[in-house]
Amino acid sequence: MRRFKSGLTTTITWILVLLFFFPIAWMFMTAFKSEADAASIPPKFFFTPTLDQFQIVFDRGMGSFLLNSFTSSIASTLIVLLLAIPAAYALSIRPVKKVQDSLFFFISTRFMPVAASILPIFFILKFMGLLDNITALTFLYAAMNLPIAVWMMRSFFNEVPMEIIEAAQIDGANFRTELVKVVLPIVVPGIAAVALICFIFSWNEYFMALLLTTDTARTTPPFLASFVDGRGQFLAVLSAASTIAVLPVIIAGWAAQKQLVRGLAMGAVK
């Protein structure tokens, strides 16, 4: 009886999980259909797969938008790491009262809606001729991710045993040796998780990309949003474009899922 109950719970769990995942599975499937198959009623679960839709998507220039997404996401992540690692080190391993106060500031900027700053940013960039500029977008993404990165990183640095650092200091290690040779090797997995989360947030960002880019610097999300106008048959090609757009992040997220929860809760949950 007990075994039966456990099997039943497992079955119910799996049915719910698969239902929940269905929209994504269906998107993957539809991407390989012809437009006629994609729009058929009742829906086709068995069909002859085709790569035509992917061909169409790249013919419509998705490549350059993907490239912009990669450039801005990777470059902004690097900037964030460069700024956040020293900051988190100072906050966690060499905490000083005055410096600790800036923690509150960092977390509060995360709660500031983009709405608060988008108008001046738009007009300043316009004035400087930097609208539709991938470098400008990269720096804004770095600013968007910096607070959460500092917070996450601090929670990883907090786990470095103080004895190791003290031992290094007694051995006469200066600050640089201490950081590079002693602390960093321990927190490498944490840094990787922070990098992946920053990458995901930049890659998915739509609001700023929509407003601050038009053509040469346009990233994937606004391209995707303007991809269909609701006329004619487009389900298969839309699914193909969406599949390409979500794939890098799904892979990154699946790889980092253990650390993901901690990053998302800003270090409050381990």
Partner: protein, 309 residues
């Protein structure tokens, strides 16, 4: 001179004071770049937003730019848009938070036991939170909820129920459905971490003492989960308050979905009234700060209890 007068202790024991000063200087120089970067790119623009909000500045009339002080705020608070938009924001944020919290708790409980494929199930469940919101909005609008070829209506008719014109008749419901779907994994991850941090000894002791699963859940699990539910709710609310993508893509603010962030976008970039949009922005920030202050207080309590040196 003044520093010496203020810190007699530092002068009495110069080596310690020196070392201490050096330590402060190092810490400060490490954190300063990040601090300045964040200040310049997020805080200064906000101050400029406040300045903009006191201007009479419509891009259609570029020659009539001038100060009108608080006239934009008067328009914001007396106009019909603000209240209805605040209502839409509260409705959409509130229902999505509550629903995703409930689904998240359900999934967390189901996943907090050993079963075949547990890791895969968890991986599949977190995916909706990872995928690009723009892509999710498009797939839900056209592939799931479309009146003719959508899978939701196919499921309804298969079950013998009448089809629903989701996108035209129930725009607010479609947004809440999508957001619930996207944020359930977020809630689930935090709540699952909470469930897994429960002491197994306590649970075992309860079952030895004859407590059934429901009573154990009510008296042991729920109190333990309280802080996790709080974190999930507050972080979720703050993220959902700012939601823009699905509204811009699925409904364009029609049918009771014109939230504050969409209203600001519409005023500034479609209506071209910069001053008024800035005023909406400032008000939005203060509402967020209100929610965030409560959030921060709770978060700090949690942070300072554990994981701090």
């Amino acid at each position: 001179m003044t520093t010496i007068v203020q810190k007699p202790g530092a002068q009495a024991v110069p080596p310690v004071g020196q070392a201490e000063k050096k330590k402060v200087r190092l810490s400060r120089s490490l954190i300063l770049p990040a601090l300045i970067f964040a200040l310049v790119l997020t805080q200064i623009p906000f101050l400029v937003t406040i300045y903009f909000s006191m201007l009479n500045w419509n891009q259609l009339y570029p020659n009539e730019v001038g100060f009108n002080w608080f006239a934009n705020y008067v328009t914001v608070f007396t106009g019909p848009d603000f209240l209805s938009s605040l209502g839409a924001t509260v409705l959409i944020t509130g229902s999505s938070v509550v629903l995703s919290l409930l689904f998240g708790l359900g999934f967390a409980i189901l996943l907090d036991r050993k079963f075949p494929g547990q890791a895969i199930a968890r991986t599949l469940l977190i995916t909706p939170f990872l995928i690009m919101p723009a892509a999710a909005a498009l797939i839900w609008k056209w592939s799931m909820l479309d009146a003719n070829v959508g899978m939701v209506n196919f499921a309804l008719t298969t079950l013998g129920l009448p089809p629903v014109a989701w996108n035209t008749d129930l725009p607010a419901v479609t947004i809440i459905m999508l957001l619930t779907w996207q944020f359930t994994p977020f809630m689930m991850l935090i709540l699952l971490a909470g469930l897994q941090s429960q002491s197994k000894d306590v649970l075992e002791a309860a079952s030895v003492d004859g407590s059934g699963p429901i009573r154990t859940f009510q008296w042991i699990t729920l109190p333990h989960m309280r802080q996790y539910i709080e974190i999930a709710t507050l972080l979720g609310s703050i993220m959902l308050l700012q939601v823009f993508d699905p509204i811009a893509i699925m409904t364009k603010g029609t049918g009771g979905t014109k939230t504050l962030s969409y209203l600001l976008y519409e005023r500034a970039f479609i209506g071209l009234d910069v001053g008024q949009a800035a005023a909406f922005g400032v008000v939005t920030v203060f509402i967020t700060i209100l929610v965030a202050t409560i959030a921060l207080r709770t978060l700090f309590k949690v942070f300072m209890n554990g994981g701090d040196r």
